[in-house]
């Protein structure tokens, strides 16, 4: 499992606004100032640096040793770890937000990971590639083969992404485990928000990835 695949993936240059990646700015805007954040799969720490520049107390977990060492060399508080195995070691309510960026689909147990995110954090911010994106559908329907895109170039036999889902699937999982969606945004190939407030099925078709701000649902 790779935790350093923050969107966009190899091959696509993310759009930047004022020096920061547009998708990072979107996530950062979802975080209240002064809060405590855990970034699971923080890569080289670019998002954490953005958060810390806003006075947010940020921590990170990163699978790759190179990523961790680059983060620590930037003065960030990052530890080497794995979302599937290490989240259980964090106590309840340790953070205001836990961020999982482009990693859910690469975990062995996405449901358990998602439950852990909302146990550790009051809120979770989750982004993942949308397997319902029209390009994916077209490749499967017309090409008859497992989809490969600019952002997800790996073949079926060497991909780290073992649990793909669509935006619709994810919404259903949230319902099932009583997770409340506070905000949802679809992003295009370059990490730009799909501008219009469109119905779900449209996002599920035209969003290259989904970004969700989640909180614990009320008792069911």
């Amino acid at each position: 499992m790779s935790m350093q695949q923050t969107l966009p993936l190899p091959g696509v240059t993310p759009e930047r606004t004022g020096g920061h990646r547009t998708d990072h700015l979107l996530v950062a805007d979802m975080v209240r100032p002064g809060s405590r954040v855990l970034d699971v799969g923080c890569g080289d720490g670019e998002l954490l640096q953005l958060l810390e520049s806003r006075g947010i107390d940020g921590r990170g977990i990163e699978l790759s040793r190179e990523g961790v060492n680059r983060c620590v060399a930037k003065g960030l508080a990052v530890v080497q770890g794995d979302a599937d195995t290490d989240l259980v070691n964090y106590p309840d309510d340790a953070f205001d937000y836990v961020i999982l960026s482009q990693t859910l689909q690469a975990t062995r147990q996405p449901r358990v990971v998602l439950e852990n995110l909302l146990r550790i954090g009051q809120r979770a911010i989750v982004s993942f590639p949308n397997f319902g994106f029209w390009k994916m559908r077209l490749q499967l329907l017309v090409g008859g083969h497992m989809p490969r895109t600019e952002n997800l170039p790996a073949t079926w036999y060497d991909t780290a992404n073992i649990h793909f889902c669509t935006i619709k699937d994810f919404v259903q999982l949230c319902d099932e485990i009583n997770v409340k969606m506070e905000r949802a945004v679809a992003l295009d190939l370059y990490g730009r928000p799909v501008p219009l407030n469109l119905p779900w099925w449209v996002w599920n078709m035209f969003g290259e990835q989904g970004v969700f701000l989640l909180s614990r649902g009320g008792g069911k």
Binding site: C71, V72, A73, V78, V79, N89, P91
Partner: protein, 402 residues
């Protein structure tokens, strides 16, 4: 490296070393009968002294002090020529101008641990009550005792909060003990290649070393100084065994392989045919010239007893509850004495305490001793961690800008 140096021809150790135990070639803080060191074993040790070295200058705010804690066989001579061996300081890869711990930016302190043999009171020191060397009459000391003594030294130096406490191996244990006992006095902590407790395997290795010392007939029940002998064979064997644990299979293979020492063919004897044998013999014999055998017993024992969780009802996280200290935990991939799993357990406990912790595992084949060697990635991380912490501490600009 010398050729065959049998470990049987060692004389009684140099007068230099014996002299250092009472009259060190460094600064000394003396504590009188009115300021006893309260030891875990229940004894009040008084009088006693702490030998220490400093590098750099304490700033006006007294906010730039770094305490370095030395490892089992280290001492206060971090960055100067050693008074007994004549060799460079043991951590001059890490400390010095342009290094991560730069005396131009920080006031760096390192003291010989209590129980040591380089000038802090220990079994090699003279007991003022008897006029004789303490030997085994010296009370058994612990890692918390070492840290308590260091805290008294830091008080004496007029320093309230240390900017950083740093150290590897047994030094790392002291770092952790500092943060558990005096969290408000440690702004940031750099525990390297260490653990929150000594493992069964490590206790076993220490027991091997102690038995080697005590099996030497020249040990004389610990009274070798009075009887003008020295258990150099036993201590050398202890050092040889320990030294293997500081390296790795890969490092030994890379360094020596199966190469012969100054010969083409085996001698069909028990001479040191292999380079690795010759190397180990050298390590053993050079160690006994600078280290006291009883001190080795006491310090290995202190490490064995170390278990922070046990001091907090078995819950490691409780040792760090609410701690504000920033941590950078470092381990090395090939360190099998203090493996990464031990550091990870520490990190989990710190996470559970919501401490601000970084954790980096450095890839190297050089084993436990990597923290003493030239490992650029380790230095880069240490430097960046201290710079970021210095910024948060409001230290004047220029920290390690090299």
């Amino acid at each position: 490296m010398s050729n065959v140096r049998p470990i049987t021809s060692q004389p009684v150790p140099s007068d230099d070393r014996a002299h250092e135990a009472d009259h060190p070639t460094s600064l000394v803080a003396k504590f009188g009968m009115d300021q006893p060191l309260k030891l875990d074993c229940g004894v009040d040790l008084a009088p006693f002294q702490i030998a220490y070295q400093t590098y750099g200058t304490l700033n006006a705010e007294r906010s730039n002090a770094i305490l370095i804690c030395h490892a089992l066989t280290g001492d206060q001579h971090v960055n100067n020529i050693h008074p007994v061996t004549g060799k460079p300081g043991w951590w001059d890869t890490m400390v010095g101008a342009g290094k991560p711990l730069d005396p131009d930016n920080y006031f760096i302190i390192c003291s010989n641990v209590i129980g040591g043999c380089m000038g802090s009171t220990g079994p090699a020191s003279h007991n003022p009550a008897t006029g004789k060397v303490w030997g085994l009459d010296f009370p058994v000391i612990t890692i918390p005792d070492m840290v308590r003594a260091q805290a008294m030294l830091i008080d004496r130096l007029g320093i309230d909060t240390l900017f950083c406490v740093a150290g590897g191996s047994m030094g790392g244990m002291q770092v952790l003990q500092w943060t558990a006992a005096y969290p408000e006095r440690v702004f940031c902590a750099l525990p390297i290649a260490c653990a929150t407790r000594h493992s069964a395997q490590n206790i076993a290795f220490h027991e091997l070393g102690r038995q080697a010392v005590m099996a030497d007939p020249d040990w004389r029940g610990g009274r070798y100084v009075d009887e003008h002998t020295h258990p150099h064979r036993g201590l050398a064997v202890a050092r040889m065994a320990a030294h293997i644990t500081y390296l790795s299979d890969a490092a030994l293979h890379r360094k020596f392989g199966r190469r012969m020492q100054d010969r083409e063919l085996p001698t069909f004897s028990f001479d040191a045919d292999f380079q690795v044998e010759s190397y180990l013999r050298y390590q053993g014999s050079s160690f006994v010239e600078r280290f006291d055998a009883n001190s080795y017993l006491y310090l290995t024992r202190a490490m064995d007893y170390f278990d922070i969780a046990a001091d907090h009802n078995g819950a490691l996280a409780k040792a760090f509850t609410g701690i504000k200290t920033r941590f950078c935990v470092v381990s090395f991939t090939s360190d099998w004495l203090f493996p990464t799993s031990e550091s990870r357990a520490l990190v989990h406990a710190l996470n559970a305490s919501s401490a601000r912790v970084s954790f980096a595992e450095i890839e190297t084949d050089r084993g436990h001793d990597a923290f003493l060697l030239d490992v650029p990635e380790f230095f880069e991380i240490s430097r960046a961690f201290l710079q970021a912490a210095g910024k948060a501490r409001g230290l004047a600009s220029g920290e390690g800008q090299s």
